[in-house]
């Protein structure tokens, strides 16, 4: 499961850090694992295209590498495209077969991003933390 690329993203996470004044900001956790991911998103002027993504987080290599990879993938995507992503997209991105017990780690970042967008659009309760 631990391809070199995953370990590399874990050890050297891309887009790691916070944004001062993001359009979207949301935190999620996986209480069973203690994995946490906080995402910051800046949108283009169209209010729909993702221009910058940053994240901070803590947890297992799968959750953190997944967040790092996703942060790159999201760049330039429309909110709708992100909303349409599913587990398979995450598995493809990671390039490994995920055992059933690790899927929650892998999809946490995607879930945080999607919930963040839902909150931004007013479709979800903004106070709730994403938990997987």
């Amino acid at each position: 499961m631990y391809r070199q690329q995953i370990l590399d993203h874990y050890k050297n996470p891309r887009n790691y850090g916070e944004l001062e004044d993001p359009d979207i900001e949301h935190v999620g956790e996986n209480p069973m694992c203690g994995d946490t991911i906080k995402m910051f998103v800046e949108l283009a002027d169209d209010g729909d295209t993702i221009e910058r993504v940053r994240f901070v987080g803590d947890g297992c290599a799968i959750s953190q590498a997944s967040a790092s990879m996703l942060s790159g993938e999201l760049h330039g995507k429309s909110l709708e495209t992100v909303e349409a992503m599913d587990r398979d997209d995450v598995a493809d991105m990671l390039g490994v077969e995920l055992s059933p017990m690790r899927i929650k780690c892998a999809v946490l970042a995607e879930k945080v991003a999607q919930d963040a967008i839902a909150i931004h659009k007013g479709e979800a309760d903004p106070v709730e933390t994403t938990t997987e």
Binding site: P31, M32, P100, M101
Partner: protein, 413 residues
């Protein structure tokens, strides 16, 4: 008389049940105590040994291979059981417990203890099993709610007019046995659900004697809850099922507390896990759940409609044969409209004596109150003898029963 073509290929089925080969003093066992517990076919026994010999492990959160295998099998067992009873919500509507009784208590504690109060009514029937009768009676006592009982007619059916009067806007729960384990009555549960829902009451269907032997579709019935036991449907002991509509299970408080059912715990408070695990505290009945799913496969392979017809045929045959003598009273509805059991009394012979004498002929029946003491009070007898059938029984076995009853008649003459 016993030559009529069987609905099932019973000879082939019997090969799966080595216990049926047992002999007592050279006489082969005739097992007619299936309403108490059914036997366990080889494919289910092999599922159990296979579990312990190849992938036994604790579930849900183990990352290692054995735990993955056990977890997937255990979780999928919930889906399989959901499918078996037509629960389209899948595993989230299926809680594994240890028996029907615990499934009832789960709802009585998690919902009843929190929601019932003075002025609320729980409507039961006179033919309820102690599992629901005692449970609701005691929970009602503790909450100040009241229990009402739908009476039975002379034929042993529910008095539906009385039911319509008893179920009112004060009714919070209607708890009804689907097939009576004493009378054999098949109750109109879907009609009762409609009445209950008209008054915003929940309906809890006791499926202990229906799910094992006929197609049961919770959504066609529109049951809010349904309970049944593995050991009465070719599965192992130690597993029961609670079906609940998803939105109700989501709203309800948990029942047993502990590991697996929580999401987050601090010294001060806890948050609950998602369905159905919220209701399965501690290490669950892993092997038993997986074996129950195999029992569902086994029964579906035979075909639930065919099992229903087979049981109805045996029950009707037994009903008619037992009533050949006027000194036998059979309880419940007539031959052509009953589940696969007959409870009866032979005049002048206590049911316990009858059962002892039948046992001398290797015929195994149950004698007693069948956990329906109040119903027996209504019937005016302390105990009855009960023969109950399953997929492996034959008309020839019913003949053995009738012969043994003849012996008892002579002994006591």
């Amino acid at each position: 008389m016993s030559k009529q073509a069987e609905t099932l290929d019973v000879e082939r089925i019997r090969e799966d049940f080595p216990i049926l080969e047992r002999e007592f003093d050279g006489t082969q066992l005739v097992y007619l105590d299936n309403a108490a517990t059914t036997h366990t076919p080889e494919p289910v026994v092999e599922t159990i040994t296979d579990y312990y010999r190849t992938y036994n492990a604790n579930v849900h959160r183990g990352i290692h291979q054995l735990s993955q295998e056990a977890s997937v099998a255990y979780e999928e067992a919930h889906d399989r059981v959901a499918e078996f009873i037509g629960a389209s919500g899948g595993r989230e509507e299926i809680v594994f417990t240890k028996n029907t009784t615990e499934s009832m208590n789960l709802v009585a504690y998690a919902w009843g203890l929190n929601e019932l109060g003075p002025g609320d009514e729980v409507v039961l029937t006179e033919m309820e099993h102690h599992a629901s009768l005692v449970t609701w009676q005691q929970i009602a006592k503790r909450t100040g709610a009241e229990c009402k009982y739908v009476p039975i007619t002379d034929e042993g059916r529910l008095d539906m007019e009385a039911a319509r009067e008893l179920i009112t806007d004060d009714t919070a729960m209607v708890s009804v046995v689907h097939v009576s384990n004493t009378l054999g009555t098949i109750n109109p549960v879907s009609e009762l659900a409609d009445i209950a829902h008209d008054h915003d009451a929940y309906v809890f269907v006791d499926g202990a004697q229906s799910v094992p032997n006929r197609p049961v579709d919770v959504e066609a019935i529109d049951a809010d809850f349904l309970a049944f036991s593995g050991h009465k449907m070719a599965g192992p002991t130690g597993i029961g099922v609670l079906y609940g509509k998803q939105h109700i299970l989501e709203e309800m408080e948990p029942y047993l507390y502990g590991g697996e059912m929580i999401l987050k715990v601090t010294f001060e408070d806890s948050k609950w896990n998602e369905l159905p695990w919220k209701y399965e505290a501690g290490t669950p009945v892993i092997c038993q759940g997986i074996a129950l799913a195999e029992a569902c496969d086994y029964l579906d392979d035979i075909g639930m409609e065919r099992i229903e017809r087979h049981e109805a045929d045996l029950a009707a045959y037994a009903y008619d044969r037992l009533r050949e003598h006027a000194d036998v009273e059979v309880y419940g509805p007539p031959a052509d409209d009953r589940g696969g059991l007959v409870a009866f009394n032979l005049d002048g012979v206590h049911a316990h004596d009858l059962s002892s004498i039948l046992n001398d002929s290797a015929v195994a029946i149950r004698a007693g109150d069948h956990c329906t003491q109040p119903l027996h009070d209504v019937l005016g007898t302390a105990a009855s003898a009960r023969a109950s059938f399953y997929v492996y029984n034959t008309r020839a076995e019913v003949d053995r029963l009738v012969e043994a009853v003849d012996d008892a008649r002579q002994l006591f003459a």
